[in-house]
């Protein structure tokens, strides 16, 4: 797995390789690139909103395109590929197999991402990451929308191929001496999230085809004038994307399950309840999609059913939090950088979950829906939990990938600044939502509360941005010049590690 920076291989050997660690490296680099690109758009958005009125972005269409591409990029081109990166590195090792089940398919799944990303960025569509018709069918301009739709199709196929590969690798290629119930929780997280992908994504694929033919004028699935219904799209969309949020969060929880016991020097409190909670999550994830649609005109009964379905998903997430805390309880904890990210991520996971419970109460949702509250809620998950877990895990993988150690002080500074920034941005956005500021707005009314809150949020975003610069420098500098890592035990924790760097499989 070691990148062999000391004995570098030519880049095309890695690019044309189908070996799981090489594909994992490609996934890592790609997803981080998109992380920084999407993050740059976020800083632009926050800079624009620092004052009411027009600042740096000349018109609202540019702004609308920016937040659309920002969201699409970070969800589909950063979070999902990053999970695949970790899965590629670790799943084969954890089930003790030489590679992924279908190495070539694995490489194909990866290579669908760059063209998908290119279509999204070159199109720069403006209809938000959920592309709701009629807007996305009639007034979203020209090729941008079609490019976005096409990109989503490519990325959807890529994630289905990846999911099949993970499922087969885990279920079929696992070493016969390893019972499934003893497989590490990180492997279990990939099994559950892959199962969700396979069930959920085809629905959206269907919705995209219908949307495209509607745009071409040959059908009217979502057009009331032709007997269609725009709300039908929202059902299809959220049937995929509510479960999809669990596809994003489950691998991040799996990563925390690697980090937390290791740095607490204690076994996981309960392996069994971790598995149970993953499986529960992947089932109940499907019972709550219409909680995004309370205000579309649902009947009281429908709203009640979906509220109950949403609340039913909470105990499983709560079990993970309990498992983390119980594992740390009484452990000899070492707060090295990966552990700090994981623990920070748990704290934010808890706050975000509490906000989610509030949202699912339908009368309260009429206050928060489509306001900045929702922006704060899901960013606490996507940034505060999922990205935190991912970044922590990348620090954890760093010595295995590079053979060198990152700079610990810089890693801690990165964490502290990101944590402070995240709280400043997303907690404040919850309050902004309670004051009624709608989301996806280029400008806001110049009320003193709005201005102060937006400024706190913008400053927080700049702090996060600065911390990411520290990160990039640390990663680049340390992978070339960092001190050599003790590969048996990089953090001096004692105990047993996986030895991905020793996986002596020939690169094929």
């Amino acid at each position: 797995m070691v990148l062999e920076l000391q004995k570098p291989r030519p880049i095309w050997q890695i690019m044309f390789s189908t070996h799981h660690t090489d594909v994992g490296l490609l996934y890592t680099i790609t997803s981080l690139t998109f992380f920084f690109m999407g993050g740059a758009l976020a800083l632009g958005i926050r800079a624009e909103l620092f004052y009411p009125g027009t600042q740096i972005i000349s018109d609202s269409m540019t702004f609308n395109r920016m937040f659309t591409v920002h969201g699409t990029t970070l969800i589909f081109l950063f979070l999902l590929p990053f999970a695949s990166a970790v899965g590629n590195y670790f799943v084969p090792i954890m089930v003790r197999y030489k590679d992924m089940a279908y190495p070539k398919l694995n490489a194909v799944a990866f290579w669908m991402i760059p063209p998908g990303g290119a279509l999204i960025w070159l199109g720069f569509a403006d209809f938000t990451w959920y592309a709701t018709p009629p807007y996305s069918a009639i007034s979203a301009p020209g090729p941008a929308a079609d490019m976005w739709i096409f990109a989503q199709k490519i990325l959807g196929v890529s994630s289905i191929l990846g999911a099949i590969n993970f499922i087969v690798t885990i279920l079929k290629c696992k070493h016969p001496d390893l019972p499934l119930s003893k497989a590490p929780l990180l492997a279990w997280s990939f099994l559950s999230s892959s199962l969700i992908i396979i069930v959920a994504v085809p629905t959206f694929a269907a919705a995209l085809v219908m949307l495209l033919t509607d745009r071409l004028g040959v059908s009217g699935f979502f057009d009331p004038a032709k007997g269609g219904d725009p709300i039908a799209y929202q059902h299809l969309f959220w049937f995929t994307f509510h479960p999809e949020v669990y596809v994003l969060v489950i691998p991040a929880i799996g990563m925390m399950y690697e980090i937390i016991p290791r740095f607490s020097r204690k076994p996981i409190f309960s392996h069994g309840s971790g598995i149970f909670a993953f499986v529960m999550l992947s089932i109940v994830a499907f019972s709550s999609w219409a909680h995004h649609m309370y205000s579309t005109g649902m009947s009281f009964t429908e709203k009640t059913v979906f509220m109950i379905g949403t609340l039913a998903a909470v105990p499983a997430s709560a079990m993970h939090v309990f498992n983390f805390l119980a594992t740390m309880w009484g452990g000899r904890i070492k707060f090295a950088t990966p552990m700090m990210w994981a623990v920070g991520g748990i704290a934010l996971f808890f706050s975000a979950g509490a906000g989610g419970v509030a949202n699912s109460a339908m009368p309260f949702d009429f206050i928060t829906h489509d306001t900045y509250w929702v922006v704060g809620h899901f960013h606490l998950f996507v940034m505060g939990t999922i990205a935190f877990g991912s970044i922590g895990f990348l620090y954890y993988m760093f010595p295995y990938i590079t053979g060198r150690m990152y700079n610990e002080a810089a890693g801690k500074a990165h964490f502290i600044m990101s944590f402070v920034g995240t709280v400043m941005v997303f907690f404040t956005q919850h309050v902004l939502g309670l004051y009624g500021m709608p989301r996806r707005v280029f400008d806001y009314m110049p009320l003193p509360e709005y201005i102060v809150m937006n400024q706190i949020a913008s400053v927080g975003a700049m702090i996060i941005g600065a911390s990411m610069v520290i990160w990039i420098i640390n990663m680049i500098y340390s992978s070339a010049k960092g001190k050599e890592a003790n590969m048996e035990d990089p953090w001096g924790l004692g105990g047993k590690y996986y030895f991905p760097h020793q996986a002596k499989n020939p690169h094929h």
Binding site: S60, N64, S270, S273, S295, V357, F366, G436, P438
Partner: protein, 141 residues
Amino acid sequence: MSGHSNWPEWVYIGVVICLLAYVGAEAWNVERLVDHAPAEAEIIKVTGQQWFWTFEHADGTKEIGELHVKKGQPYKFEITAKDVNHAFNIHDYVVLQDAVVGRVNTVWFAPEQAGEYTIQCREYCGLLHYNMRATLYVEEN
């Protein structure tokens, strides 16, 4: 599972489930009241289109960009949209309902305070979505 006992986890899960049941029951109860418009509510037809609001009172008078109502009187909004979806929102009165093309959604409220309030669009609807606002004037009887 490992050898140690799991009872703290069961207690904890029990507490979580009780909390959720409480939240759910409260929400259900409040929503039950909010969902049923009083019989004497006056009907106002609301139409959203890029990027303004039109209101039509029961007597046929139309207003664009502003809405005049009487304090204490319940109103039922019948909301629809012409071009793309919008969302009708009076934040101060927790009124929120999507304006959907081809559908009529209803929501009701009874203003209790005279004054001026902001009506805004809360569903992304394109170029001037951010500015799709109207003013609600609640007048003394």
